[in-house]
């Protein structure tokens, strides 16, 4: 299979079951809402070392937020509900509670719940006030610029993490341009985030290492400089590989985003310097979800 002259390998991306939630962070201005969101989603690229994977899903106009202020929708993924609870408390407590004028709400209606304001309220040292409005309970936590308003609980859902595809290109600039096109197309879609910096990861990893105790190490088969000394999977013209990792609320969301991303990466054709699209997997033995590139792009 090829799209605009770019070969699509007959392989699949392997993804895993995760737990996820959506937060709506609002502030007095769109800029401060984004500041809070960027702080919260910082150092959340991979569950390997960050505890969770998180990203900005989209920006919200005042009419689309619970308190009619500018907001940002954030998706957070963790390996289990306990870790999700821990990360929520840490990240909202350190990054949103601290941001001037901010408020934080659940953006996901789901029967399973994790605590948010119900944990953070203790910061109020007894001066916090619970307010039940309709079916939802909020906490008003006094802070130095007024009150931090935070929903008591947020919805939690089963989700999918680790959808991916790799762009093999003739040069780093060609790989970068293709990845930027892909991210540009994918960020328009709902229910997904690409948790790595700018949505793109250049340090793809394999499981294990020659060094004792390291769970992951560089994916030498895709490192162009190691072509001569390892079992390389790269064509001879490839000089750069970039990976896009996707976490989504459902497998369908990931499939849709991979479809859009791959199409955009291939849209410049051969002249764009993209050689091949492939995907990362572990032989299909570890992940519950498989995304076959040929099926996706058929």
């Amino acid at each position: 299979m090829n799209i605009n002259g770019v070969a699509i390998e007959d392989t699949f991306a392997e993804a895993f079951g995760m737990r996820a939630t959506r937060l709506i962070v609002t502030a007095d201005t769109a800029q401060w809402a984004e500041t809070a969101a960027r702080s919260l989603t910082g150092f959340a690229t991979s569950v390997i070392a960050c505890g969770c994977e998180a990203g900005i899903e989209r920006y919200l106009a005042p009419a689309a937020t619970p308190d009619a202020r500018p907001g940002v929708s954030i998706l957070i993924f963790a390996v289990n509900s306990k870790e999700l609870q821990k990360q929520l408390q840490l990240r909202v407590g350190q990054c949103v509670l601290t941001t001037l004028g901010s408020a934080c709400f659940s953006g996901l209606d789901a029967p399973e719940r994790v605590k948010l304001g119900g944990q953070l309220r203790y910061f109020g040292d007894g001066f916090q006030i619970a307010k039940k409005i309709g079916e939802k309970r909020y906490w008003r936590i006094p802070v130095m610029d007024g009150e931090f308003l935070c929903e008591d609980e947020v919805g939690m859902t089963r989700a999918v993490g680790g959808g991916n595809f790799l762009i093999l290109a003739k040069s780093r600039s060609a790989a970068r341009a293709a990845a930027e096109r892909a991210i540009g197309a994918m960020t328009k879609l709902p229910n997904i985030v690409m948790p790595f910096p700018g949505g793109v990861v250049r340090s793809g990893s394999k499981i294990g290492s020659k060094y004792k105790g390291l769970p992951a190490s560089t994916n030498d088969a895709f490192c162009p400089t190691l072509r001569a000394e390892t079992a390389s999977k790269l064509p001879s013209e490839a000089a750069a590989v970039l990976e896009i990792v996707i976490d989504g609320l459902t497998a369908e969301d990931i499939a849709a985003s991979m479809r859009a991303g791959i199409a955009a990466a291939c849209s410049a054709g051969e002249s764009g310097g993209v050689l091949r699209i492939t995907a990362g997997n572990y032989g299909g033995k570890l992940g519950q979800f498989k995304f076959h590139l040929h099926e996706l792009m058929a």
Binding site: P66, K131, E147, L149
Partner: protein, 273 residues
């Protein structure tokens, strides 16, 4: 037949206890069976058909027409469905109701919505004392749900309130929110009587004007924009055109905290003047 219409044809001389007449209990019952239900009236018992003319109704739920101030316990412990009183209701309307919607198109007597736990109680006219309060001897008043009062309330509205929202579009008597424990009571009228928040521990009294006579145990905490007001007014706006109209004026509020004689964690929020 989707609903039941009960029209008062022989108004009772004594107070009549309507607590057996709940929409969820009467749904599916025949008019004969409903007519045979006995109601306490003073020291006697009266059959429903001795007081009311019974008829099927096109509108959903239970409708009581020609309401009267002697009809007590309307919607007592109601849990679902719709009950409408066309006219006045007596004491204890919506007492301890947990769900559904009770509408009184006229006035309601004392203890309307007392010990309420859920659902919506709407009173188009005025309400007596202890709106959303607790029964004598009880430690807690209203513990959930929404009371919408279009007219004025008597004294001690929201007495010992624990949770839920009381929205009063008119004025209130003295001791509004006395002994309040939590929850929210809103008064849009200009007059809130003497000593609102007497002995309140926690909870919020939201007033469209600063009270005329306030307890010395409340302390002015200054003017503030409070984020939860956006949520509260957005939630209530569909229920109250009057609130929706004044909502912009409630974004900046003067906060008084008290009652210092009872812990002082309650608040009176008054539209900033």
């Amino acid at each position: 037949m989707s609903g039941i219409l009960l029209t008062v044809t022989r108004p009772p001389r004594q107070r009549l206890d309507l607590s057996p007449l709940l929409p969820e209990r009467l749904a599916g019952a025949t008019l004969e069976a409903i007519g045979a239900i006995e109601l306490a009236c003073g020291n006697r018992r009266l059959r429903v058909d001795e007081v009311f003319a019974l008829a099927p109704s096109e509108s959903a739920g239970l409708v009581i027409r020609n309401g009267d101030a002697k009809l007590d316990h309307v919607g007592h412990e109601m849990s679902a469905g719709e009950l409408t009183v066309e006219g006045d209701a007596g004491a204890y309307a919506g007492l301890a109701m947990t769900g559904g919607r009770l509408t009184i198109r006229g006035h309601a007597g004392p203890f309307a919505g007392a010990a309420m736990q859920g659902g919506i109680l709407e009173i188009m006219g005025n309400a007596g004392d202890w709106l959303g309060g607790g029964l004598p001897g009880e430690r807690r008043g209203m513990a959930g749900g929404l009371i919408l009062l279009r007219g004025d309330a008597g004294q001690r509205a929201g007495d010992r309130q624990r949770r839920g929202i009381i929205l009063i579009e008119g004025n209130t008597g003295d001791f509004l929110g006395a002994r309040m424990v939590a929850g929210t009571t809103i008064v849009l009228g200009a007059e809130t009587g003497r000593y609102p928040g007497f002995a309140m521990k926690r909870g919020t009294l939201l007033l469209s004007r600063r009270p005329r006579q306030m307890l010395p145990t409340f302390t002015d905490a200054g003017r503030h924009e409070l984020g939860f007001m956006n949520l509260l007014t957005a939630y209530l706006a569909p229920h109250s055109v009057k609130l929706a109209a004044v909502a912009p004026g409630l974004m900046e509020l003067r906060r008084f905290t008290g009652d210092a004689a009872a812990g002082g964690k309650g608040e009176i929020l008054a539209a900033a003047d």
